[in-house]
Symmetry: C2
Subunit: 327 residues, 2 copies
């Protein structure tokens, strides 16, 4: 038995689990590992590095020729929009789906659909969900504030059913933010979602393109210890448009600057280089460890395929147990 939902049928996959398109961290290796296990891997095109994107998507195309692999390519929409070439590279790879998050999907969604590519839009409010569907989204990812990295303020628990009520008749709704195990997948399905997106959980996988020390810290962190802020965006000189903020594990740098963001901007002559050096050295007392509240449920660093299989099996067991609550 595997779970069959509108998501699995639309994408032609076996398990309703998607890899969050985490910038560079979700490279061809991690994307392939998730897809090979029956989930849906999405290459993390992120802000957009054409050389990286070309090289990583070429690997996926080569794998597809050998194995029939299915995969997506994902972008931070407002950033990708500044480099039209990125869209050419993505379309040329003929992914099964294009992931667009944070920004107006209009021109890109149309172009993808014209090329026979499904459109996934990640949204943070009900209004954004309506807009995404009007602009051609086949799949709407309702991302709750629990998520690691950039996101909004609404929580997953009330956002998912509200998005289902608003657009569920026109698009497939998927839950993102706070999901790390089979309980989360089963709960998301009860809320009306057809699958889940996992970020932090795949960050702490063997194949993720990240430092072992970062993965180790995720396994040790509590969800109590994360915060949404703009400290890290200021520190790396990567200012995002409102209303988005980025969730990270609270570290020394965050403790030092929380509530003093304006002051931080005035100290960037020293703090900028200090932050860059920490990133280069993998010093996560200063550099951001981007992860969500679901870290509470992450205690190991297994192969990504094992994560896909275990979560599905745990969810199946939870759903089967649903019949058991009888008076």
């Amino acid at each position: 038995m595997t779970l069959s939902t509108r998501l699995t049928r639309l994408l032609g996959i076996e398990r309703p689990i998607m890899l969050a398109a985490m910038d560079k961290l979700a490279d061809a290796r991690l994307t392939e590992a998730v897809s090979a296990a029956g989930g849906f891997g999405i290459l993390g095109g992120g802000y957009g590095d054409p050389e990286w994107l070309e090289a990583e998507s070429a690997k996926l195309v080569a794998m597809r020729e050998r194995t029939g692999l299915r995969f997506g390519i994902g972008f931070i929409t407002w950033s990708m929009a500044k480099q039209p070439r990125l869209m050419d590279i993505a379309i040329a790879a003929k992914p099964d789906a294009l992931w667009l998050s944070f920004g107006d999907p209009s021109p890109f969604a149309e172009r993808a659909r014209a090329a026979g590519i499904k459109v996934i839009c990640q949204v943070q409010t009900v209004e954004m969900a309506r807009d995404a569907v009007a602009k051609g989204a086949d799949i709407v990812v309702a991302q709750g504030s629990e998520a690691g990295g950039h996101g909004g303020s609404r929580g997953t628990f009330a956002l998912v059913p509200a998005v289902v009520d608003a657009v569920g008749d026109k698009a497939v709704v998927v839950a993102s933010g706070g999901v790390a195990d089979g309980r989360g997948l089963a709960a998301a399905m009860m809320l009306g979602a057809e699958g889940v997106v996992l970020g932090s959980r795949f960050f702490a996988s063997q194949e993720a393109a990240a430092d072992d020390s970062a993965k180790q810290r995720i396994t040790e962190a509590s969800g109590d210890d994360t915060v949404r802020s703009i400290i890290f965006d200021i520190s790396r000189k990567n200012i995002w448009p409102a209303p988005f903020t980025g969730r990270c594990v609270i570290n020394e740098h965050a403790k030092r600057w929380m509530g003093r963001e304006l002051e931080l901007t005035r100290h960037m002559a020293e703090e900028g280089p200090r932050y860059e050096a920490a990133r280069a050295a993998g010093d996560y007392d200063i550099a951001a460890l981007i992860a969500g509240e679901a870290v509470s449920m992450i205690h190991d660093v297994p192969p990504a395929g094992e994560i896909v299989r275990n979560i599905t099996e745990q969810a199946e067991a939870m759903l089967a147990r649903g019949q058991g609550w009888r008076g």
Copy 2:
């Protein structure tokens, strides 16, 4: 068939649905309506008004003598701690459970347990859950940031399973924040909760002690339109200890002062009386309409008992359907 969980068995109730102890809004009438339908009503002692508490608890005691009604009494712990007499009134009514939220439960939890009264502690983090259990909580309510009124920053979706993992072997865990229908109850159970607490949903019930115009506004609001802030606490001169903030529907007053909280404190000579007048007149363009992100799923103002029954039945149907997701 009704749902049987550790919560229903511990409290001797039929349906795993609790009324949030909303200050004065959850009076004897609403408490009785929830309990009479098989849920667990909790009188909203809130900040603590001895005369009100004595009168309302006397009504519940009288009903219990006639019908065997089960009920709880709830307090905002840090506020109740300033008036020891409130605890005497509550104990004298011999409720089945005492609800303590926001503050150190220690002395009150011990006294309740000594009187054979179960202790419910609402918490906003995993650490607070551990502390509550160490201090004698029988039931831990994991309250996500989606909730209306005062609360913390962690979302329900990742908080509930983390609290279950931390204290689920020692206490019964219940989910609060973002729940308004049977999907929410079913999802909470998948996350490991043994029941749910509803606030906004019972606010928009016929029995809630609130203006009809306030209830109507809840049925019209979107979860996108709520915000956690301290604007209303400043405006009514009721400053809470950090880290708690209050979620309300965004209205004209909130739009005017969001991001300008410090400035608001300097304008209280005019804004304070203006706010008080609006509260007295039921003008919710200025006065806070305290509600959570679940308002997206609230479209009517039914009797509270109907809410209890409908949510349970919808959850039962969702859980039964759990078997249906097969490939």
